[in-house]
């Protein structure tokens, strides 16, 4: 009730009665909505056996697995590259030398402002124009790396900046070098504060691999379109997308829960003096998550 208590007082007998009535009415409304959707599904025959039959076939299951594999492969490569990209450009932005700081700032701000799909198109159409053949996987991975790498660079920078300045001063005072301050004092604390934000950014990256569908990279969504478009099984788009959606929700949901758990755990941790960066909803994080 912690959230509700901001707006509402503890309910008295009248409010309790009113809330109970509202609860019943809204439950009925929600059930009616779900029932209508269910009726719509049943009415158009989405629950017919022929539309679900092919998911029992080992070949179709293998197709889905191959799609999932392609999704995870793109996500894994892009995640590694984006983390590297982010580390390089975050250190550029944190540098004392303007000659490093200015270009790094420009790159990070630019790639965050360009729609991800346009970045992917750069990797897809431009090589075509010059007649080079580039694997669609790499067009997708390069776009994901540039965009998510730039966002991660901002997370890294915010993480380092979140460590209170007294930590740096203290480290210099006991005679550490700049390099030691960063390596031994700032990074270990910053990593704890930004870990939840990093994990939730990786969820975003995983979700964004679905853009590969548009450049016909054979990832999970693309495979779903093929399975759903089979006429002998009555064009089972609805069942297929329900299954594909469930797969995405299971994987991304598990990672989101991990991010949330990390945020709670790190918030209590005494091993960092930094405030934990929000993993979602608040401030800059709201724009990152979407």
């Amino acid at each position: 009730m912690s959230q509700a208590s901001i707006l509402y007082d503890l309910p008295g007998p009248r409010a309790k009665r009113r809330n109970a009535i509202l609860g019943v009415v809204s439950t009925a409304g929600i059930i009616a909505l779900l029932a209508y959707i269910g009726y719509k599904f049943a009415d158009t025959g989405q629950f017919e056996a022929r539309r679900w039959e092919q998911f029992q076939y080992a070949s179709v299951q293998r197709e889905l697995l191959a799609g999932l594999g392609a999704t995870l492969k793109a996500a894994a490569i892009a995640a590694v590259l984006a983390l590297l990209f982010g580390a390089v450009f975050a250190s550029g932005r944190l540098s004392d030398k303007w000659i490093l700081r200015t270009p790094a700032t420009f790159v990070v701000e630019l790639f965050r402002a360009i729609p991800l799909l346009i970045l992917i198109f750069f990797g897809y159409y431009v090589p075509l124009q010059y007649g080079w053949s580039i694997d669609k996987l790499w067009a997708l991975v390069i776009g994901l790396m540039l965009y998510n790498g730039s966002v991660l660079a901002e997370i890294f920078r915010a993480g380092i900046n979140a460590v209170p300045y007294g930590q740096t001063e203290g480290a210099y005072a006991i005679g550490m070098r700049k390099n030691q301050v960063l390596r031994l004092i700032l990074l270990p604390q910053a990593v704890r504060s930004m870990l939840p934000a990093i994990v939730s950014q990786l969820v975003v990256l995983l979700k964004d691999t679905a853009l590969g569908f548009i450049i016909t990279y054979p990832e999970l969504l693309f495979v779903g379109k093929q399975i759903g478009g089979r006429l002998p099984f009555g064009l089972p788009y609805v069942p297929t997308y329900l299954i594909v959606g469930a797969i995405y929700i299971a994987i991304c949901g598990a990672l989101s829960i991990l991010a949330w758990w990390l945020q709670k755990r790190m918030g209590r941790s005494r091993r960092t003096a930094a405030k934990v960066l929000p993993s979602q909803d608040v401030g800059d994080a709201a724009g990152r998550m979407i």
Binding site: Q3, F122, A210, G283, G287
Partner: protein, 218 residues
């Protein structure tokens, strides 16, 4: 360089049409997701457990689904449910359904930034629910909501490009048309990038100003 400008002047109409549709799609989906998102946000902070659970389930399901999947569902699966919806409407609905989950969360966390003591003090003064909401909670919550809300809408403006994969002529669909016309894609994509920067940079600047100006001192 001449080639670079020729791409724009020769295909001016396509660029104009594309970006006009992008802005249109953005505005429709912005209004839609603001309405639906506010409704869901109100559910999430309501005293009725059933509504809270519904809001939370919606947000968690939608947030962990790729937007491209929402688009694909509307374009390929929804017509199979005997619902007739054209491509432009599908795109607006997909963006609304997806973005409102994020709008909802911004509203919820905005309301939660207001210290509980504020509302308690207001009630102690005898204010009614409407007064507490409009005089005490919302003025403080709105300042905390506006910057993240703008981030969400900037992200949505970029997300409109995904409609290109689903037969909607907007800015993201220009490269596919240009590929047919055999125009140099690098120049085309640079022009699209410039177009988006023109749309987005003022929003980003405004957001930073508001963020600085409205930072709540606690």
């Amino acid at each position: 360089m001449g080639e670079f400008f020729r791409v724009l002047t020769d295909n001016g109409q396509l660029f104009v049409d594309g970006f006009t549709n992008t802005v249109k799609l953005f505005l429709i989906a912005a209004v839609g997701s603001l309405v639906l998102g506010t409704l869901l946000g109100a559910m999430r902070v309501s005293p009725v457990p059933a509504l809270r659970a519904f809001g939370a389930t919606y947000v968690n399901l939608v947030r962990n689904t790729p937007l491209t999947l929402v688009f694909a569902f509307l374009v390929f699966a929804v017509p199979k449910l005997d619902v007739n919806i054209d491509y432009d409407d599908s795109a607006a609905v997909a963006l609304t359904v997806y973005t409102s989950a994020f709008v909802c969360e911004v509203i919820r966390s905005g309301v939660n930034t207001v210290a509980a003591g504020q509302a308690e003090a207001a009630r102690a003064l005898g204010m009614t629910f409407g007064q507490v909401l409009t005089l005490i909670v919302l003025p403080q919550a709105l300042r905390a909501m506006v910057p993240p809300m703008m981030s969400v809408f900037i992200a949505m403006l970029k997300n409109t490009t995904i409609a290109a994969g689903f037969s909607v002529l907007e800015a993201g669909a220009i490269p596919a048309y240009m590929a047919e016309r055999g125009e140099p894609q690098f120049a085309v994509l640079l022009w699209i990038t410039i177009g988006f920067l023109i749309l987005i940079l003022p929003l980003v600047a405004l957001q930073r100003i508001l963020e600085r100006k409205w930072r709540v001192a606690r």
